[in-house]
Amino acid sequence: MAMSPTETVAPSSNTKNTVVRTKPPKAPQTSNSSATNHDKPRTAPAPQLFESLNDEEKRKYVKDKQVGKGTYADVFVGHFASSPSTKIAIKKIRFNADFKDGISMDTIREIRALQELRHPNIIALYSVFSSKNQNLNLVLEYCPRGDLMELIRDTDNVHYGTADIKAWMGMLCRAVWFCHENFILHRDIKPNNLLIAADGELKLADFGLARSFAEPETRMTYNMTTRFYRPPELFYQARHYSGVVDVWSVGCVMAELVLRFPFIQGDTDIETANKISETIGTPTEDNWPGVTQLKAYLAPTNVVPVKRKPFYMDLFSSLGSSGVDLMMSMFALDPRKRATSKQVLQHEWWQQEPRPSRKEDLPKRGGGVEVMGDDLKRRGGELPAEGRADKVARKIDFGAMKK
């Protein structure tokens, strides 16, 4: 029989969906069958296999409605074809000609990280498929209740207490610990990357700046993490750092939950680095051996001694004494002295009164799907534009500092 090679490799002979698969070549006439068989190029099966797998995957999801539109990505709400009541978010990343193969680094980082991670407090990536024009579609967990930033900023309508803060912090810290336990650095933890699912569960999202723990010799980039939440070692352009960069950001979120505005703010990177020096204390060889060797370390004009507990007690008394201890351990200037994400979860604060609120009792706010769409369409490191906060770039401009 003159069987074409494509026929034998064609996958999913067991599936019913064969609509888009390219037709197998017609069986040639018996008289010249051997000739045609040899003419057939042997490379043909590979793209077919890929296309049919992709189509098969694509048909499992249905897009319903667009909820976000950006230059980097569009966000849709949809559902599983097999279960119409199970909703999903689809992040359609536009083909970007600036990059090789049209896929930006952020997208690769996000897919790589989320593929590895499955945790109740980390947004789930169900699937990836490509649609027409080579756009990449990420099928993500549906988070219809907006983000933590919405709740923090809406001081008029949203009121919460220490038990609620503890519950959100617990969920955030678990997510971060789980990332680190799987050797992944998030590097962009901030309130608007913390989405809220329908059941009130907090979900760490936007892994566009995430990477896996580096080999010792590998130099990592320092221009990561949105400015307000960036740890001092990244301002000083450290090339070899660890999971505690995320713990600093978690500390910033904790402080912001109490204050309801970002704890360490600056209009530029230098201003923000100086703000750390003023607010937490000035990094020196005494409190951080070796810091002066870091590339972008700038000798301070006036040295502010590292703040002690009474300073934090004034600002964050509602967290209680042990809550303040925990926050201070996250704000240690020297990364070696900073608590690891595991140590954070082992802290005694979690066991003390009040007990963290149950997730169904946490305050909520409408904002909903549109906020999720807005959050997912953004690239890592950006703060939301227009009204929600100042535009803050994530690149550091040290040119001005050097002069």
Partner: protein, 342 residues
């Protein structure tokens, strides 16, 4: 005895061709005895022993199927809200239908019966709980219907009474006006107007009273039942507060590694040199994190059995990222340097 002739009243409705019914045992037919009633034995459906029940359906197969369905439904009485998702519920219904179908069509009869019995014995509690639930629901429904009927009756009566009273008022008013006109010699139009106003006033007070009554009635319906029973609609089933124990910050997740135990320090030249370099120390590079990752990557393959993974499907994770990635790799798109571009 197959001839169970019941003479208490004629049969309600005659089926077509009823006269042709013949008892297979005694051969007596309805032609001779129109009051004779044919009964079905629910055990075998074709032989008549000594256990009888009235036949509902003309087709004996339907009769049998309904009985089987009833029996299965009494055991598999899970409800949609017992399930996490509609999909799970549908899957359950599908399984139940499989068993039912097998029982009806006598496929794997022993196996199906065994399944039914084992499920019944294992889930006694939930079964009886759901029976109670449906019982409660049907009681509530009945009570509500009774209440609604009662209210409708009261409303109808009130409307009738009101109509009568209004009629009476109007007549009384007219009589008063006539009497006044007859007895006094005042202004006729004034007297007529006063009379009208009196009627109006009376009807107003009556309407207010009716409204009050109706309000009482509607508030009654929200939480009261007529025949002494008390029921409230829309109540959530009260969940007993459970003692959750101390808060677990890890929520059950563990960082225990299955295949290795990490030591505090490894004699390794490559690391010893770097561990003294301020470029690493001041930036906070954690060599334990690196060692942990290295060990994990070295040993985690020990827990992977491809045969198992291929057959196991995880319903929570419907997508297959790996499949797509593998397909991409298979398609020969090696253009992106995946190792460390960050």
């Amino acid at each position: 005895m197959s001839r169970l002739a019941q003479r208490s009243g004629p049969p309600a409705a005659r089926r077509e061709g009823e006269e042709d019914d013949v008892c297979p045992v005694c051969k007596s037919s309805r032609y001779l005895n129109p009051n004779m009633r044919f009964l079905v034995n629910p055990e075998c459906y074709h032989r008549i022993k000594n256990k009888f029940r009235k036949q509902t359906f003309e087709d004996i197969q339907v009769e049998r199927e309904v009985d089987i369905r009833r029996r299965v439904a009494e055991v598999f009485n899970r409800r949609e809200d017992d399930f996490n998702s509609l999909l799970d519920y549908n899957n359950y219904l599908n399984d139940v239908e499989d068993i039912t179908y097998n029982l009806i069509n006598k496929i794997d009869l022993d196996e199906s019966e065994r399944k039914l019995a084992s499920y019944a014995s294992r889930n006694q509690q939930t079964i009886s709980l759901n029976v109670q639930k449906s019982l409660q629901e049907s009681q509530n429904r009945e009570a509500r219907q009774v209440l609604e009927k009662e209210q409708a009756r009261i409303r109808r009566e009130a409307a009738r009474r009101e109509e009568q009273e209004e009629k009476r008022d109007r007549e009384e008013g007219r009589r008063d006006v006539i009497n006044m006109l007859a007895s006094s010699d005042g202004d006729a139009s004034r007297i007529a107007r006063e009379g009208q106003q009196a009627v109006l006033k009376r009807s107003k007070t009556r309407q207010a009273a009716i409204q009050k009554q109706q309000q009482a009635l509607s508030s009654d319906s929200s939480n009261g039942a007529p025949n002494g029973g008390f029921f409230i609609q829309g109540l959530k089933t009260k969940v007993e507060p459970v003692d959750e124990g101390p808060y677990d910050p890890f929520q059950g997740f563990s960082d225990k590694r299955k295949y290795f135990v990490q030591q505090n320090r490894y004699a390794w030249d490559r690391l010893d040199r770097l561990q003294k370099d301020t470029n690493w120390t001041a930036g906070g590079y954690d060599f334990r994190e690196f060692c942990s990752r290295t060990l994990c990557e070295a040993f985690s393959g020990l827990g992977v059995f491809i045969g198992e993974e291929v057959t196991r499907t995880d319903p929570a994770f419907v997508g297959s990222v790996a499949t797509v990635a593998a397909a991409e790799a298979g398609a020969g798109s090696k253009d992106i340097m995946m190792e460390d571009p960050f």
